[in-house]
Structures are given as structure tokens and as C-alpha cells.
Symmetry: C2
Subunit: 227 residues, 2 copies
DNA sequence: CGCCCCCTTGAGCCGTGTCAACTAATGTGG
DNA sequence: CCACATTAGTTGACACGGCTCAAGGGGGCG
């Protein structure tokens, strides 16, 4: 049996329906977090899950030796805190990349539980895909897959698919993609040289989404050497 | 906040308590599968989860271009089929590596749901760790981490920690660790040359678990080049 | 203005994938 | 039971991608 996966969907876990309208204004009663402020501390216990309303978050783990690993990015629509289905102890930290707001999901009713379960399931599939991506695909394909994915995520939320601002810095993005920052920088440069996009640090404009999608799609070939 | 993870525990998802005694004889009423026989086909729908009683399984995904990815190995005590918590459609296939038996969990009661949820949670953490391992650690550290983990798993189930038979072939193990079979072979050779183990294909004997654990533990350093 | 941090660019090295050849193990049919 | 075919595992040679180290811009903020 063959699974036909699109190159790299669902990296952004917006399992909830798009909330494009309400994302502009920040609803009262929600918790507001500023850049670098933590929503969740690894090892701490949470009692309620959160729904991301606006902004963007990064989840990560720190290891004993000091280096940290970026686990994922979370945009409006994402649900955080599936650990409440178990003991509530979080294994990773979640920090705001920019001024952001979240809605606390107070009642752990049937719908919420299902939402969290779907969230976990998506997470497993995302990690599997990421593993496969890092094993088989070169820098450019990984970067292309990420950009296509982010582009789609933007589109689903009602924003432009071809022009957007990345909420995370190069270091974090490199960490997420399993690359050194220098390598990521060179990846951007190659895509820019080929006229596929323009990227002034965080402002990205896709000039040829077709070719970008192609680069990401050839991904699963043995395209580690031939991009 | 720093998470203190042991080098690589829980790769083998024996969330259920060890069933060492009952593993010897195969209880009646359970489903028996022979080598290469599938328990779950990707894309198919399952209605009940399974508990592995004896033998060993491999879960994997096939991609369009033909190459497949090994997702995990499952020994007695593992639970398979968390997808029943959602729509029941499986995203990966599960095949027996040897003559094996499973027990179908008929009632989806509270305990079973919790077991499956824990299973998913462990899976997420395992995949995160694997990602980190593959990004930061060289061949020998990855192999060492796997062997330590398998050794511990054997120990928990009441078998020898220092001498065991790996149920999977080199190709599958290489695929799981994200290595080429040749590279894995060289990894075994280096560990053998250093007097840390003996390995005649599947029969592994750990001569110096201490040093092996050390190699796996130095893992998270920037030990990609210096093992 | 000047400091700091982030990003970029260059040079060189090392680990691992690939290709190819050889051996060992397994299975098959006569 | 042996000869053969087939697959799995090992070993060697080589090339290449990405990491590391080091230095050079560029933008934000005090």
C-alpha cells in the first residue's frame, strides 16, 4: 500500500478552522504574550490546553549539554498542550516569537479531547515526515518544503500565498530544519539566484511557486545530491 | 528549564507491564502472524487496537517513489493502532519480523483509551529524540543508543541485558536509524574492534555495556565528528 | 554614534552515501 | 544431498554535501 502524501502539508498544526477575521483584533479575555515570553515551561504542569489566536510561537527542548532543539512553530489555529490528556507535565517549552495571544480552553469536553488527540496524531505524522525529509532531502528541498508549507498555511488562513513575513529568525528556522544557520543562508541564496524568490531576511516573496513546489516535491527522490 | 533525558529510553513502546511469563507460550485466542505477514496495511481501517504478545513487528511507510521508511519496532508489551481513537485509518503498515502473536483489545474503555493516548505521547517524544539523535550524533552514537535501548527493553521484560538476538535485519535497522546499510555495518565493525561487543549478524553480546552507554551518552555533545 | 546581534559569505575538512566487488547465508529445484 | 540462484551482509574507494571556523556587512536600540 502506498501513501500519497503531498510534499509536506500540516507542518503548521492549524487543526482548528481558520480564524482569519478574529486574528486581526485581539479578543479580550485572552492571554497576551510578548516577544520572548513563555506560554509553557518544560517540566511544569499545565491544567488547560491553549488555542493560538494571533502571533506565532516556537516550541523547543533544552538538553543537558546546552544545545536546544526547535520542535515546531505554531500559528493561529494551532492547539497547544495535549499533555493535559495525561498528567499535564510538559516535555517542551513554548515561547512567543512576537506579540501573540492565546485562548485558554477551560472545559476538557469531548470535542476538546478529540481536538487534542487529532493534534497528537498530526504531530506524529509531521515528525515522521520531517525525519524522512532530513534523511533523504538536501538543503534546498527542505527549505522549499517548508516555504511551500508555510505558504499554504498562510493561504488557508486567508492571507497571501506568495508574499509573507516569517515570524522566526534564521537561527530558529535552521534549528527546525536541522541545518546550520550558514547552510540555511546559502539555501536562501541559491533559491534567490535562481529567481524563485526574494528574501530580505524575514520578508519573503515567492516569484515562482511552481518551481519551488517542484524542488520540494522532487524531495523524496534520492535528491540529496541532485537538487 | 532543562529536560534531563536518559540517552534514549522508550524507543520500544512497552507501555504495558512486562508479560515475560506469558510470552513463552502463545495464549490461545490470540492472532498468530508469521514472518512477513502484515498486521496492519497502510490506508486500511482498523476497528481495534492490538497488544503485542510475542515476537516482533516493524512499522513502516512506503512513499510514491518506491523507497520506504522504517518508523519503529514493536516488541511484546507494545500497543498498536492508536488510530482507532480517531477515524481508524492507519497511516503506516505493520508487519511481523518473525512468528508473532497479538491480542486484540476489543473494548475501547477508559483504560484502553488512556493507554493509547500514552502511546501517542511516547511516540512523539521518541520521534523528537530520534530527530535530535540524527542531527547531532554520529553513526556509532546512534547505534550505541539503539543497542542500549534494546538492551534495557530486554531487561525490563526479564531477559538478559547483555546478550540477545535482534529480530530485525541490517537493512531494517539501518533504515530505522537513518543510515545506509554499509554505514551501519561499519558501525558494528568499529564497536567490535574496540572490544565493546560481539555481533554475528543478529546475535549480539555486549562485552562492555558501560563504554557502550558512554558512547551513546556523549551523544548530544557535538560528537558528530568525535566519537 | 557605537555597540551588539543577526545574517551572510568564504575556505577547508570530515562523515556518510554511493558504487562496486566479494563473501556468507538462505532457499530452491532437480 | 548437492548445485545453483538469490538475497543479505561486509569491505574498499571515492565523491560530495553540510558543518565548523573565521571574517565581513547591516540593521536595531541604547
Amino acid at each position: 500500500m502506498t501513501i500519497h502524501t503531498q510534499p509536506h502539508s500540516h507542518v503548521f498544526t492549524d487543526s482548528y478552522l481558520p480564524v482569519a477575521g478574529s486574528a486581526a483584533g485581539i479578543p479580550s479575555g485572552n492571554r497576551i504574550l510578548r516577544r520572548h515570553e513563555h506560554l509553557i515551561h518544560a517540566g511544569a504542569r499545565i491544567r488547560h490546553p491553549y488555542l493560538v489566536i494571533s502571533g506565532a510561537f516556537k516550541s523547543y527542548v533544552n538538553y543537558e549539554n546546552g544545545d536546544s532543539q526547535v520542535l515546531g512553530f505554531h500559528v493561529p489555529g494551532s492547539v497547544l498542550g495535549y499533555e493535559v490528556l495525561l498528567d499535564g507535565y510538559c516535555s517542551c517549552s513554548v515561547v512567543a516569537l512576537d506579540t501573540s495571544s492565546v485562548k485558554r480552553l477551560d472545559s476538557l469536553d469531548e470535542d476538546t479531547r478529540r481536538l487534542l488527540t487529532e493534534n497528537m496524531c498530526n504531530e506524529i505524522q509531521r515528525l515522521s515526515r520531517q525525519l524522512h525529509l532530513e534523511r533523504k532531502c538536501c538543503t534546498d528541498a527542505r527549505l522549499a518544503a517548508f516555504l511551500i508549507d508555510y505558504s499554504d498555511s498562510q493561504g488557508r488562513r486567508g492571507y497571501s500565498r506568495n508574499e509573507f513575513i516569517l515570524p522566526m529568525g534564521r537561527r530558529d528556522l535552521a534549528g527546525y530544519l536541522g541545518l546550520a544557520p550558514e547552510t540555511l543562508s546559502r539555501g536562501f541564496r541559491r533559491l534567490r539566484d535562481r529567481g524563485i524568490l526574494t528574501a530580505s531576511t524575514n520578508h519573503v516573496k515567492l516569484l515562482s511557486p511552481e518551481r519551488l513546489r517542484n524542488i520540494a516535491g522532487v524531495a523524496s527522490d534520492r535528491a540529496r545530491q541532485r537538487c
